[in-house]
């Protein structure tokens, strides 16, 4: 497959994938509208767009999860029907999902042959797979120990196993859905090197992401989607992040957070030697001490799963910890009690708005009271004061530009950004002394990100303390007044945003000690 020279292939070959006029509707929602795209072989083609722009739907159609209402798919110039993922695999398409589909307690090799075993007995196909795997690893520089158990290897390696799985099934076209979401910057760089190698070997790669930086860094061509339509396809070399952002949102966007220097006051939250043990008995937070002052944003950086979530959950009263917590000088019980925390003036935008921050089946107006449903303004005796609640919701929706501004709509029917606006509106309008924010813009479109960041900064300027946890380094760097990096349940170091960069933070996030960094 590597015989013909690449430039020759690019000139003469038919597009690896060509979609013509793909449309798909879910009920009244037009997820994809008349989408046409040509992906040339041996290139990395980025697809960028806000949440709900239809990227995932389009890829699901390509991978046979959904059937398009209209339109045609051509693979290497030949019209192809893809009724299911089996057909996609035999057409040479491989998919690496955002959430890995690996069996945790199987070895790498077992995971790779899973679903592709031939014959009832495993030993023959295992042996065959082993030789092939070694060859693939050598060819693409993807070294993973075939006998390592999945749960014992890092996230970056697990992702390689997903890529190897696709290659083992003879994939010529690889689709990666938000592949860097769970990686450290260093791991992401390694992934990009692997992708570059794959491209050099003639594979075609479709990279779905919402991160402009990645698009600029690695892709050859980029297509922008907005509201189910393909708004532009441009050569990456001929575009800029600003232009792409504008294409995505449909208006000019401020990519940097505009904020005045912080004027920190007295400490609001003080944490001393906090330890958290999870349900499985694993210590997740290993003695953390920190403080957040009035009028400042403390950002906690770190790769997902290094104890930041647990820290936030203890502070928000969702989980018990051990250690000393003080709020405005007053000692707090470190046990789990969300109501007590709220009474102390702590508001909490949780990491997972769909499972925690909102009840998806509830109307928007029911969600506006969530956590505050015992407050005098929302109750009348043992009953809820539904009318007051609905009026308050309508007002909040107006102030926070929630669309559609319909208090009766169920939370699950809002887009990610608008769901988050409901949560942020609810929490910020409590006028908290301390705001805990976890992943404020995960799955949120760029337009809403800008708005939510503004609100957080405004709250800080009004004198509140803000503790921000985010896996997005960009967000940490642009929003925080002070940055603490967490690794393996400990704080690896504190930096000021003006005096550090992604490389240094990335090293701390990977557990390099202060001295080494």
């Amino acid at each position: 497959m590597t015989g013909a020279t690449l430039s020759e292939r690019r000139e003469t070959a038919a597009p690896a994938i060509e979609l013509k006029g793909i449309s798909k509707a879910f009920g009244p929602v037009q997820a994809n509208r008349d989408i046409s795209i040509r992906v040339m072989p041996g290139t990395i083609h980025g697809i960028i767009g806000e949440n709900g722009a239809g990227k995932s739907t389009l890829m699901s159609i390509l991978y046979g999860f959904y059937k398009a209402d209209r339109g045609e798919i051509f693979i290497k110039g030949r019209k192809t029907e893809i009724p299911d993922s089996q057909a996609a695999i035999s057409a040479g398409i491989g998919m690496v999902f955002q959430h890995f589909k690996l069996v945790e307690n199987f070895t790498v090799l077992e995971n790779i042959i899973l679903g592709a075993e031939d014959g009832a007995l495993l030993n023959r196909s295992m042996a065959k797979a082993r030789t092939e795997l070694v060859q693939l690893e050598r060819e693409y520089g993807l070294n993973v120990d075939p006998d390592a158990v999945i749960e014992e290897i890092g996230v970056g390696k697990q992702q390689r196993v997903e890529i190897l799985k696709a290659l083992y099934r003879r994939a010529e076209i690889l689709i990666l859905d938000e592949p860097t979401g769970v990686l450290t910057p260093a791991e992401a760089d390694q992934l990009f090197r692997v992708l570059g190698r794959l491209r050099a070997e003639g594979k075609t790669i479709i990279l779905i992401t919402h991160k402009l930086r990645e698009i600029m860094e690695i892709t050859d061509t980029v297509s922008v989607m907005r509201r189910g339509e393909m708004t532009a396809t441009v050569k990456t070399a001929e575009t800029s992040p600003e232009q792409l952002a504008e294409l995505m949102v449909g208006r000019k966007v401020l990519l940097r957070v505009d904020k005045a220097p912080a004027k920190p006051g007295a400490p609001v939250l003080e944490v001393e030697n906090l330890r958290v043990v999870d349900e499985a008995g694993v210590e997740r937070v290993k003695g953390i001490s920190l403080n957040v002052r009035a009028g400042e944003i403390l950002g906690i950086a770190g790769v997902a799963g290094n104890g930041q979530s647990e820290l936030l959950e203890v502070l928000g009263g969702m989980r018990s910890g051990r250690g000393v917590l003080r709020m405005r000088g007053q000692v707090m019980d470190p046990g789990a009690d969300g109501k007590a925390r709220r009474a102390m003036g702590i508001a909490h935008v949780p990491e997972d708005r769909q499972r925690e921050g909102l009840i998806m089946g509830f109307h928007a107006w029911e969600n506006v009271a969530f956590g505050y449903h015992d407050d005098a303004r929302y109750r009348s005796g043992m009953f809820m004061n539904n009318r007051a609640l609905r009026e308050d919701t309508a007002a909040k929706m107006e102030r926070f530009d929630v669309r559609p501004p319909d208090p009766w709509l169920a939370a699950k029917n809002f887009s990610g950004g608008n769901q988050q606006k409901i949560v942020v509106a609810r929490e910020i309008e409590q006028n908290p002394a301390l705001l805990l924010v976890g992943q404020p813009t995960r799955g949120v479109d760029i337009g809403a990100i800008e708005f939510i960041h503004k609100q957080i900064v405004a709250l800080r300027d009004a004198g509140a303390a803000v503790l921000l946890v985010s896996v997005e380094l960009d967000e940490i760097l642009s929003l925080s007044d002070r940055i603490a990096v967490m690794f393996d349940g400990r704080i690896m170091g504190e930096r000021l945003p003006g005096q550090t960069d992604e490389t240094e933070l990335g090293l701390l996030m990977a557990g390099m000690s202060e001295a080494a960094a």
């Binding site: 009263g317 969702m318 109501k339 949780p350 499972r355 925690e356 029911e366 449903h373 109750r379 009953f383």
Partner: protein, 361 residues
């Protein structure tokens, strides 16, 4: 899909499918389905006597259906309605036998209290085990049904049975706690309702319970917390809603509702406590709640439907060669189609409505 189709059309089509399949089964055993339907309708709705029985059964099912529905809003699957209703019966019997009530109305209030307390107490143990120990409430409530049956057996035979009686049942309740039947209630209005039918004032209590449960679930803060916990446990933890508290309270309310069924079957109909007084109504309650989508109004309608099936089926068994087991088959089909196979009807309907809308647009 418009709301009316969701609420009315889907269950109606499901019912129709269940009816067609039932008809086929009846045909298969060599009987005439048309005659069978006629007999069922006649037997369950054709006279005030028939209505009296249908509504009597429906009253039972309303209580047990509401019991399952309330727990279900907290995502607790209370299979123990049967046992809770049995123990509730014990409470009602004790209240009726040992308290000298001056008037039936006070006796009814006392019986509601006693039946509710006993049923709630019986549900509290599995609830506590679930909340504190993580023992699954489905398993424990099923086991508690057996414990209730055995305990009641012992109590009736060894403690409550009047001396010299051969019958494992309590003594007859005093005349003062005789509940007015529909015949007695409707007579002043000039309506001549059958004297022999067992439907009684408990029906009104059951309807009131439907309204109260509706208010509880959709209007009170407790109901808000129950629904929130039922839809998302992490969400509840975030909002500071105690899961232990919600499990205990929702199960206690559920048990109390099941226990209150005894005012109908024990106090209103038998007027003494007999063995197996519940006749499986606790289990029918699960189907009723399922079909009623855990909404009190849905439970009300589903309870009447199952009352119809129960009474109509009994008539069928009495007057034709169709065996009594046929009722169970029909009920099972109704449950299957309205509960388990709901999507089979819903999905195509949704597509039809969508296509229709697109055609217009």
């Amino acid at each position: 899909m418009p709301k009316w189709a969701e609420v009315i059309l889907v269950p109606l089509i499901s019912l129709l499918l269940a009816a067609i399949l039932s008809a086929l089964v009846i045909l298969a055993i060599g009987e005439d389905p048309v005659a069978a339907v006629k007999m069922m309708v006649e037997g369950a709705l054709g006279s005030t006597y028939a209505w009296g029985y249908t509504l009597y059964y429906a009253t039972n099912f309303m209580f047990t259906g509401l019991a399952v529905a309330v727990a279900f809003h907290a995502r607790m699957f209370n299979i123990g309605g049967e046992g809770q209703a049995m123990i509730g019966g014990l409470g009602v019997a004790l209240a009726c036998l040992y308290v000298p009530w001056p008037h039936w109305s006070l006796g009814l209030l006392g019986a509601i209290l006693a039946g509710g307390l006993f049923g709630a107490g019986w549900a509290l143990i599995p609830a506590w085990l679930q909340a504190k120990r993580g023992s699954h409430v489905v398993i424990t409530t099923i086991m508690f049904n057996f414990i209730a049956a055995s305990a009641l057996n012992y109590i009736l035979v060894n403690l409550l049975k009047p001396k010299g009686s051969q019958d494992p049942a309590s003594a007859r309740f005093p005349e003062a706690v005789h509940l007015p039947t529909l015949h007695e209630l409707l007579a002043p209005l000039g309506i001549n309702f059958s004297k022999a039918a067992p439907a009684n004032v408990s029906l009104l209590v059951a309807v009131a319970a439907c309204v109260l449960v509706w208010a509880l679930i959709w209007r009170t803060r407790l109901g808000y917390e129950i629904r929130a916990y039922g839809q998302s446990e992490p969400g509840a933890r975030y909002a500071g809603i105690s899961g232990v508290r919600i499990i205990l309270i929702s199960m206690v309310i559920s048990g109390a509702l099941a226990g209150c069924m005894a005012i109908n079957n024990v106090m209103g109909e038998a007027e003494r406590l007999v063995l197996n007084a519940t006749e499986g109504a606790g289990f029918i309650g699960i189907a009723v709640a399922l079909m009623g989508r855990s909404h009190p109004f849905g439970v009300f309608l589903a309870a009447i439907l199952f009352g119809f099936l129960y009474q109509g089926g009994a008539e069928l068994a009495l007057w034709t060669k169709i065996p009594r087991e046929m009722i169970t088959v029909i009920q099972a089909l109704v449950i299957l189609f309205t509960g388990a196979l709901d999507n089979m009807v819903r999905a195509p309907l949704e597509r039809i409505f969508l296509a229709a809308r697109r055609g217009r647009g």
